[in-house]
Amino acid sequence: MKKHRHSRESGNLVSLTSLLWIPAFAGMTMICLGLGLHAESKFPRTIDAGGGRKLTLERPPRRIVSLTISVDEILSSLVDKSRVQAVSHLAIEPTLSNVIPWAREIPRKISQDIEQIIACDPDIVFLLQNTRFEIVQALLQAHVPVVQIDIQNSIQDVKNDILKIGKALGEEDKAKKLIEEMDKKLFAIAEKIKTVKKRPRVMTYHFIGSTAGKERTANEMITLGGGINIPAEEGIVGSVKISEEKIIEWNPEALLLSGYSPHRETFPDEVRANPALQTVSAVKNNKVYVIPGKYFMTSSQYLVDGVEAVARVLHPELFSNE
């Protein structure tokens, strides 16, 4: 009895939905034709603005301001430069930025200066989750639409941020495509690394004397680039200061240094010549590598290039025929 009624109801439902199909199709076609842009039709939309806030956007933002280089780099692939009012100063820093020519054409390069931000008359401002609270608060007070981006500690974090930014700007399709491109490159590298028989045990060594453990992008770069990250293996999480003794004890086969070392340009040479480190096999076998800062420090889609850069120094033989 019960079953019977259920089927009748669903029968009604089917006929009802089939009736609705026609106007629904017609309506959607009209909307698409009328607006021309399918992305526009999905506004207004409410997005997660970070810090427990929601932000409602009436239309796709056209005066975008970004205060952090990772977002600058992501923006360069998602939107036309005419929509960007300002990017961070670091976007034109030669040792850090992957988008210098693009960033040069953006009207303004700014820092965390509230006045400068407001003067851009932005309809969306991207900044990092760890930006000082007073600054975020002051911008919100001035009714500036602020979106806080999570700090990216992994490739997955970067992908999430790309999707989040794409959603905020009405450029989901481009965001998805960008992620597909990342995956394609990562897959190609993984195919090469698969053939590696022995993964070298390595570590990063930053000019402030720190190394990267788990939950750091550098850790993923090493793992996907065909190495074993010693600090992660030792259970270290995040960036920690490391003593020379520990480096001697761990005896890494290669040391990975960042090419970005402001005011310490001589750091790689210092490491190579450091008397304390002469027994370390990385130093002994001349395997202290400098990875360009723009690949090693980035938290955008260019992280994939970081993986490749690490793979190239750890396994040059895989890339010899390119």
């Binding site: 100063h89 700014i110 820092s111 200066d113 509230i114 006045e115 400068q116 407001i118 003067a119 851009c120 008359d121 989750q129 760890n130 000082r132 609270f133 007073e134 600054i135 608060q137 002051a138 007070q141 001035a142 009714h143 402030i208 720190s210 960036s239 920690v240 200061k241």
Partner: protein
């Protein structure tokens, strides 16, 4: 006497006019250039019952009303509060070296703030940092007072020493937290910034936080000017003249701790204002607290927005720290005062 009164009146009037001028001037200048004329009208437009045709760009109005104006007002309130409490402390302790930091409130507040930054509270809840600083300030002052009190009496020299001890302890704990935080660059940077004092990003919530406590407390303090005058002659004479020394001191300590606690919570630790401004005013106006206290408040309120202006504009796009600027101006001035006094004493 009459001429003296006239002079005092003129100085106070001058300070009031200067305050108004600084309000507009400090608001007109910043990293984005806005015409002086527009600033003037935008500020007038914000005064209730006044309204003008807004022919200025909306972004300018936002920068003036939401960024600069609250910051300048916070600077005025904090500057006034620091200078006033400095004057009170110097009177209370009968010691020219006394400043608001002497009862441990500044370093205690800094410790509270730094702890809240380190533990991550500061980035999750807006009031977490000011509240921790405020609690730190009051706790430190409370300890100083309890340590110095014996059988219901609180001798000034003991108070001074326990203030130094508790302050030193708070400073070392602050350094300890900083050294724990050093590997996390962003956190360490915030802590260092905070300990150097500054008004970057201060907006209306900060005004609303500071004004309702600081202004009434300062107003109450003015009523103790007569008692402070009498205590200058020594506590026993003051007692003889009908001043309840124990309670006056207690009330003044609580009020200044409150004022300093709130100041530290909105601006970080800012040195030298509370030391130098009262001395400067004493040189101009004499030692009568009835004039000295309001004059110190006004002079402090004039000085800090100017110092903050230097921070905002000198080395763009970076900002100088406010505590650095006040010490940079205050230090040499204090040395000048010392040399001058030395000459007066030795008669050279």
């Amino acid at each position: 006497m009459n001429r003296n009164l006239e002079k005092n009146f003129i100085v106070i009037l001058f300070l009031l006019v200067a305050l108004g001028f600084i309000l507009v001037a400090a608001t007109a200048l910043g990293s984005v250039s806005i015409p002086f004329k527009n600033t003037f009208w935008i500020i007038l437009d914000k005064i209730p019952f006044l309204s003008f045709d807004g022919s200025w760009p909306k972004t300018q109005e936002l920068i003036i009303t939401q960024v600069r104006l609250p910051r300048v007002i916070v600077a005025m309130i904090v500057g006034g509060a620091l200078a006033l409490s400095g004057a009170v402390m110097q009177g209370l302790f009968r010691n020219p070296m006394a400043d608001p930091g002497i009862i441990g409130a500044t370093s205690g507040g800094a410790l509270g703030a730094v702890a809240s930054i380190y533990l991550g509270w500061a980035s999750t809840y807006f009031y977490a940092l000011p509240l921790s600083a405020f609690i730190g300030s009051l706790l430190a002052t409370f300890f100083v007072y309890v340590i110095a009190t014996e059988h219901g009496k609180t001798p000034v020299d003991l108070l001074l020493l326990s203030g130094i001890a508790v302050g030193g302890l708070a400073v070392s704990l602050t350094s300890f937290i900083l050294s724990l935080a050093l590997h996390n660059w962003e956190i360490a940077r915030q802590i260092i910034f905070w300990t150097m004092g500054g008004l970057e990003g201060r907006s209306w919530p900060h005004v609303k936080m500071a004004a309702p406590i600081i202004l009434p407390a300062c107003f109450f303090i003015f009523f103790y000017a007569r008692d402070l005058n009498m205590m200058l002659f020594g506590e026993e004479s003051a007692q003889g003249l009908g001043v309840n020394v124990v309670w006056t001191r207690r009330i003044l300590l609580v009020l200044t701790a409150l004022v300093i606690g709130v100041s530290v919570s909105v601006s970080g630790a800012i040195g030298f204002v509370g030391l130098v401004i009262p001395h400067m005013m004493r040189m101009v106006m004499g030692p009568d607290h009835k004039i000295l206290l309001p004059a110190s408040f006004l002079a402090g309120a004039c000085f800090l927005p100017l110092a903050d202006l230097v921070c905002r504009t000198l080395i763009r796009p970076e900002e100088l720290r406010l505590g650095v600027v006040t010490a940079f101006v205050g230090g040499p001035f204090f040395i000048y005062l010392l040399i001058k006094r030395k000459r007066e004493v030795t008669g050279i």
